[in-house]
């Protein structure tokens, strides 16, 4: 074997090991997003969906500092966009404790359905570490799809009777009091001042 091929092999091995070291941290993690069995089959706006994220350490070394977050994507044709989760979920990122090799960590997510439409949701996990890692990467779960149907939030059938009925009832009470006061003529001075 020539010196060049030995050097190339050495460099290749070094590169592989470096890549393995960097990519092995991300590849250590496996992420899965599982919808709760109690989620409505046909959700509407105002409903809530629950998900459980399972992050598993498939590597041989413990991994710490794992951060998991969810990502929501609207996929309605013409309206494809990531969704700001500010109003959908109070919890956006979770810091997980260290995961031993072969162990899992779980976290719950609760999503309030604010707007109708078709969506894809996934959870992403990463272990950024303390130093800048050129091989830093993250792991994403497979997407879970769901569609939110709209629900009329103002029902005219309820509003009109109340908007007209409440003032009518009070107005009727007012008329009754007025009639009661007018029903008897004022007692004149001659009638026993």
């Amino acid at each position: 074997m020539s010196v060049v091929s030995i050097a190339a092999a050495f460099l290749l091995a070094a590169g592989l090991s470096a890549g393995s070291a960097g990519s092995s941290r991300a590849e250590q993690l496996k992420v899965e997003l599982i919808p709760s069995s109690g989620n409505p089959a046909a959700p509407h706006t105002g409903d809530a969906l629950a998900f459980r994220a399972v992050i598993r350490n498939d590597g041989r070394t413990p991994i710490s500092g794992v951060i998991a977050w969810i990502s929501l994507l609207e996929v309605d044709p013409g309206k494809e966009q990531p969704v700001d989760l500010e109003d959908w979920s109070a919890q956006r990122a979770a810091s997980l404790p260290g995961i031993a090799p072969g162990q899992t960590a779980e976290t719950e997510w609760r999503l309030r359905l604010i707007q109708s439409g078709s969506y894809r949701i996934s959870v992403i996990a990463a272990a950024p570490g303390d130093a800048v890692d050129r091989n830093f990467s993250h792991v994403m779960s497979p997407f879970v799809a769901f569609t939110v149907a709209s629900r009329p939030t103002v029902e005219t059938g309820r509003m009109l009777p109340i908007a007209s009925g409440v003032p009518l009832v009070i107005g009727a009470m007012l008329l009754w009091r007025s009639a009661r006061g007018r029903g008897r003529p004022p007692v004149s001075k001659d009638a026993g001042n």
């Binding site: 008897r184 007692v187 004149s188 001075k189 009638a191 026993g192």
Partner: protein, 333 residues
Amino acid sequence: MTGLANGRSEVLVELRSVEAWRGGATILRDVSLTVRAGEIYGLIGPNGAGKTTTLAVVVGLLAPTAGGARTLGLDPLGQAEAVRARTGVMPERGGFYDWMSAFQYLAFFARLYGFDPPLVEIGERLAHVGLSAPPDQPIGTLSHGMRQRLGLARALINDPSLLVLDEPTGGLDPRGRREVHELLLTLSHKCGIGILMSTHILDDAERLCDRIGIIAGGVTVAEGAVPELAKMGRDLEAPEQGGGDRYRLRLADRGMQSASKRLPAGVSVLDGEGDWWTVALASEHPPEMVWRELMSLGWPIREIQRLDSRSTNSNLERLYLELTKHTERQRAA
């Protein structure tokens, strides 16, 4: 008019040289009065003299800045609730809850005083003051006089030992005034309630009161039984003006200018202008003899009008006017 009734002498109200401020001004400077059980005490004085302020001190609404005040033997301010429990008050300006009926109104105040009378009793109380409104008629539809009676009924709701009334007959017609007079006299002389009332109407004071206090400029200027004050008023009269009854004489023509102006004894001319002359007759001279004598002296008398039949009232009025004129002059200035 009686003096102390039935010998009751429990002092219900005692003010000694009371001074009081209100609205940044000294309203009372030196007010003293005493009200006893079973008597009616009248507080009279011109507008702004301090009558209402005096009543406010008595019932504990206003603290005196000097002097002493006792009501029912208690401190009207420090023991206000105990005083008010046994005092009935009728302010001059009576306001009511127009949406309530008279029955509801009395029932409300009865509960505030700690008892819950049945409807029948409330009806009786209203009837006692001459108020015959139907049970459900709103107060807003009652006349002024009936509201006045309702105020009196409210003042009596707790069967007080002391009644404090500010112009109790204001706005009432003569029959209504007479009925209120009867009620007050009964409450005082038969039931032993002490009544302190302020009034502008000297006739009421003369009819009702056992004793009167005249207040002017925040000072008690006179106090005493009605006959005593009337005597003081009579004594104020100038001798040349004569005493006794007064008459107005209408003479035949203006020839009176040239006629004799001699007067018989016991007759004095108070005023004269044109056909009408005002004369005063001494009480010991029968009027018929006086007219005959005047005509014999050349007085062409065509008509005679008697001006005053009660000498007491005119004397009381005279005293009142004399004692309060200084205050009125200050006000005019």
